[in-house]
């Protein structure tokens, strides 16, 4: 049994005015194990601390109980006193007899005194189980991984790289650029999307600190903050990046065709292709599922024509391993599957398209070279309907707002009026949500365009007509009855969900996900929107929830600054209250693994048995594992199960 020193603070009259300190001291002295009991008018004053240090030193006690005030304000001070007296600071127990006793029981002095005695007695019982603890410093590898090469990933990578750290930017497609590269213009300023994105893409390609890994996927991640080790699969391009000069002769001569994913299936590309003219890197990739050589064993036209001999059909996928200190996830969004919204007829009628398809149709490097036509019919539309909230704010599909559809619909109306000045555009919307910088102004500008009609009322159905046109039905509350508008083209402003690849990244990183849409869960929606439950992994852009470009860029820079501040400090400090496993008792039932939100617990082999093991760099000391361990094998030091039991028994005695 340890020898305990008990210090009682009067706190002027704050404590002593209610609690009879002398009586408390008498009671406490009777307890076995208590070596000294000493009181002080203000324990936190210089005098108080000095006499405390002296008493600890001279009496040779090995545990200290202080009955005073809140641990929040005063624990560091008293811990420091213990340190100076040569004791480990975690052998201190601070009993808050001020906030929890004297201040709240001012009129019941007798009972408050009794309560204080019990509280101190419980602390003495508890502290017998305390052990000395240490904080540890762990190194941080000065490099970062950014997953996703859209605008969020590009911005984050550039910011981290500019601060002088190595960045690995992983993109699953052959080129970076993401969804922003698909856009023709951006709202509300209507500046050309690729014109502002292109320079950033080139900056990424040329940055000395950025290692660009396109056409690559993250396979596995191990380790912890400061020391992640990542395996990345580089899919074979069948074109050697070191030899290709980007002349693109190979593409011109390729005879095989495939659906163009970048143009949302509205046109065809070759089997050897770059996604779009501004692609970075400007190195083609061969799609083996359509290439004649891979399918039929003949052709090799590209190989024959390539002036640098860069085509290499024998390429294999290659796994590279990188080590980084922090990770940014920016895997972005994609449109909700529009064909699931059966009533809007997407997939059933060729003249029903999505917003992103319209972007490609009006883009100068899109399938029609910027001419707006009805797909597959190749006729210029005269009457166009834009259906807002397609799938969004709909319990059957996505209950949330996509946050960009309203402004996109206005932008799309503007595109149409710009390209076909006498066209009539009907926007079907419950309301237009224009709550951003310059948004309301843009709304007014588009609304005043002649031939743009905003119908207040959600479209209920899109119906085909025998003549090939489609009718949009809606209930117009202003008219009080249903309306039906005959149009040549319907644009669905489809809701957005986290990109498909997010799911696999999420499983690899063990990140949380929100209930709807597959977006990744932030640590706290208000105070920690960039951090995740896993230390050292940050999220930004649309993968964290629907958002527009400026918000995405701001978040990306925020994520980068979090990474930079972690990497530039160079080390992380563990907190001392990390869960510890008694592997004798641990049954390896994995319930703690499920309960731990920080991914800090893993099952390891030890002595021929599977037992839990805590990574102290990841453990936050919350005790969720302690609370759910049926084997009582895991404990937070100085908050042991027996210690708490001893407190219960002591108070009730």
């Amino acid at each position: 049994m340890g020898r305990v020193a008990v210090f009682l603070c009067h706190c002027g009259t704050n404590i002593a005015g209610v609690i009879d300190i002398q009586r408390v001291a008498e009671e406490i002295r009777k307890i076995s194990g208590v070596a000294i009991v000493q009181d002080s008018r203000f324990l936190c004053s210089t005098d108080g601390i000095e006499s405390m240090v002296d008493s600890i030193r001279s009496s040779g006690v090995d545990r200290v109980v202080v009955a005073a005030c809140s641990f929040r304000t005063h624990e560091p001070l008293f811990q420091n006193a213990l340190r100076r007296a040569g004791l480990n600071p975690y052998l201190l127990e601070l009993v808050n007899v001020r906030e929890l006793c004297s201040w709240v029981h001012e009129k019941e002095r007798e009972k408050a005194t009794e309560k204080a005695v019990k509280m101190i007695r419980a602390a003495i019982a508890k502290i017998q189980g305390n052990q000395p603890l240490e904080r540890r410093k762990l190194p941080v590898i000065p490099a970062a991984l950014v997953i996703g090469g859209g605008i969020a990933g590009i911005r984050a990578a550039l910011d981290i790289a500019d601060a002088g750290f190595t960045v690995y930017l992983v993109e699953k497609e052959p080129s970076i650029g993401g969804n922003m590269a698909r856009l023709d213009k951006t709202f509300p300023t209507l500046d050309c999307s690729i014109c502002i994105l292109g320079p950033l893409m080139n900056a990424v390609a040329q940055h000395p600190n950025i290692k660009l890994l396109t056409y690559s996927e993250v396979l596995s991640i191990e380790g912890r903050v400061g020391e992640f080790s990542i395996k990345i699969l580089r899919k074979p391009r069948y074109v050697r990046e070191d030899l290709c000069k980007g002349c693109l002769i190979c593409i011109a001569k390729c005879p095989a065709k495939a659906d163009d994913e970048f143009n949302m299936g509205l046109s065809h590309r070759k089997a050897i292709y770059i996604q779009y003219p501004q692609a970075v890197p400007r190195i083609p990739a061969i799609d083996p599922s359509t290439c004649f050589y891979f399918q039929k064993g003949i052709c090799r036209a590209c190989e024959k024509l390539c002036p640098t001999g860069a085509i290499d059909f024998s390429q294999r996928g290659e796994v590279v391993e990188v080590k980084v200190g922090a990770i940014v996830v920016a895997t972005g969004f994609e449109e909700y599957t529009a064909s699931q919204i059966y009533e809007y007829g997407y997939g059933r009628y060729p003249n029903v398209i999505t917003g992103l398809q319209l972007e490609r149709l009006v883009s100068s490097y899109g399938p029609t070279g910027g001419r707006l036509t009805v797909p597959r019919i190749d006729r210029e539309p005269r009457r166009i309907a834009i259906v807002n909230c397609a799938g969004s704010r709909d319990e059957r599909h996505l209950p949330y707002c996509c946050r960009v559809g309203c402004m996109a619909s206005l932008k799309h109306a503007w595109y149409i009026k710009h390209l076909i000045p006498d066209a009539e555009v009907f926007i079907f919307a419950d309301e237009i949500r224009a709550s951003g910088k310059g948004f309301e102004e843009f709304y007014r500008r588009v609304r005043l365009l002649p031939g743009v009609y905003i119908v207040k009322g959600r479209a209920s159905e899109v119906r085909g007509n025998p003549d090939g046109t489609v009718s949009v039905m809606a209930y117009d509350p202003a008219l009080g009855h249903g309306i039906s508008i005959n149009t040549d083209l319907v644009v669905l402003e489809v809701g957005i969900v986290a990109s498909r690849s997010t799911e696999s990244v999420r499983n690899i990183l063990k990140l949380g996900v929100v209930a709807q849409g597959g977006f990744l869960l932030e640590l706290h929606p208000k105070l920690n929107p960039i951090e995740t439950a896993v230390d050292g992994i940050y999220i930004c852009g649309a993968v964290a929830g629907p958002k527009d470009i400026p918000e995405t860029v701001a978040q990306a820079s925020a994520a980068a600054s979090k990474v930079v501040s972690l990497l530039s400090r160079g080390y992380i400090e563990t907190q001392p209250y990390t869960a510890r496993v008694n592997s004798e008792l641990c049954s390896g039932c994995r319930i703690c693994v499920t309960a731990c939100e920080y991914g800090a617990i893993r099952i390891v082999e030890k002595g021929g048995r599977s037992v839990a093991s805590v990574d102290e760099a990841l453990c936050k000391g919350c005790g969720a594992c302690v609370g759910s361990c049926p084997s009582r094998a895991i404990e937070i030091p100085n908050l042991g199960l027996d210690q708490i039991e001893a407190m219960i028994a002591e108070i009730v005695r």
Binding site: E584, L585, C586, S587, G588, C589, R590, I591, C592, V593, T594, A595, I603, R609, S610, A624, C625, G627, S628, C629, P630, S631, R632, A633
Partner: protein, 301 residues
């Protein structure tokens, strides 16, 4: 030297004796003359318990006569084995602690008061584990004790090796405990789920209550490895004090994403019966309030 064994049976189903007698190793020991059953109302024809080397006690302490019998028998033995979960923890008869003894008798015999005739023993106030009456040398839990555990006990009795129970739970030896669990979204009632569970996947992972995490190992996961969730017959881990509390904690670590909470309660409709099926008299609160709790009125004046 022949080791003589006496078996005293209390409130019991005879399963423990059957488990013992059906073990090949035990029969061989008898055939080889190493062990002799000196007394057992079920297994041998002997009228009186003489002095024996080892006394096996099976069944729960349910009646006053049980208490007297076990106390007397203990004087005639040098070692005492609490054999089976009924003896160690109260067992299934221990769930009788949910009802007062008068009500139990009334429920069975109606208005007839059989004990008044003196022919039937009177019930004890509530079921208690054996170690509350006599000092126990060996705790052998299980309903009935599984073969590996009996084997170890016999080894200890015959060869003097130390008899130790595992310190870990069923999960440690369960073949289904392979991959990390994820928070369960859909709890299911054990009986209703049995037709469509994947018998090759952890039951808890499928939302089915399995007592494995809070139950002592030793049976080599007999039930879970054969497609049935553990019901907890081996009792709590040695380090634990309460099987039900441990299981509630374990469930909360796996079920915490389930909404609404009623769905969990529907899946665990009879919490005492499911979580303390074998161990109620051994638990922290070992009985229903009206059985073992006296009320002291506070008078405000």
């Amino acid at each position: 030297m022949v080791i003589s064994i006496g078996i005293v049976s209390l409130a019991y189903c005879a399963g423990c004796e059957v488990a013992l007698a059906s073990m090949e190793r035990f029969c061989n020991l008898i055939a080889d003359g190493v062990v002799r059953i000196a007394y057992s109302t079920l297994l041998v024809d002997s009228e009186k318990l003489e002095n024996v080397d080892v006394l096996f006690v099976t069944g729960s302490i349910r009646t006053g006569e049980d208490i007297i019998a076990v106390k007397e028998a203990s004087r005639k033995a040098s070692k005492i084995v609490a054999f089976g979960s009924c003896t160690c923890f109260g067992g299934i008869p221990g769930l009788g602690n949910m009802i007062r003894r008068e009500e139990i008798v009334g429920g069975v015999f109606g208005s007839v008061q059989p004990s008044e005739s003196g022919l039937l023993p009177k019930l004890a106030k509530f079921v208690i584990p054996l170690q509350s009456v006599v000092d126990v040398n060996y705790m052998v839990p299980g309903c009935p004790p599984p073969e590996p555990v009996i084997e170890a006990l016999l080894e200890s009795l015959v060869h003097g090796r130390e008899f130790t129970l595992p310190s870990v739970s069923i999960c440690n030896e369960c073949p289904l405990n392979r991959d990390d669990k994820k928070p369960v979204k859909e709890p299911r009632r054990r009986l209703l789920a049995l037709n469509d569970v994947d018998v090759d996947t952890c039951f808890l992972k499928q939302g089915v209550l399995c007592m494995g995490p809070a139950t002592l190992a030793g049976c080599r996961a007999l039930c879970p490895s054969r497609g049935a969730p553990c019901i907890g017959c081996m009792g709590p881990l040695p380090n634990s004090r309460d099987q039900a509390a441990d299981m509630i904690d374990a469930l909360s670590g796996v079920f915490y994403m389930i909404e609404p909470l009623e769905r969990i309660l529907e899946a665990v409709l009879d919490p005492v019966g499911l979580l303390s099926m074998f161990t109620l008299p051994y638990s922290t609160i070992p009985y229903h309030r009206r059985v073992g709790v006296e009320e002291v009125k506070r008078d405000a004046n």
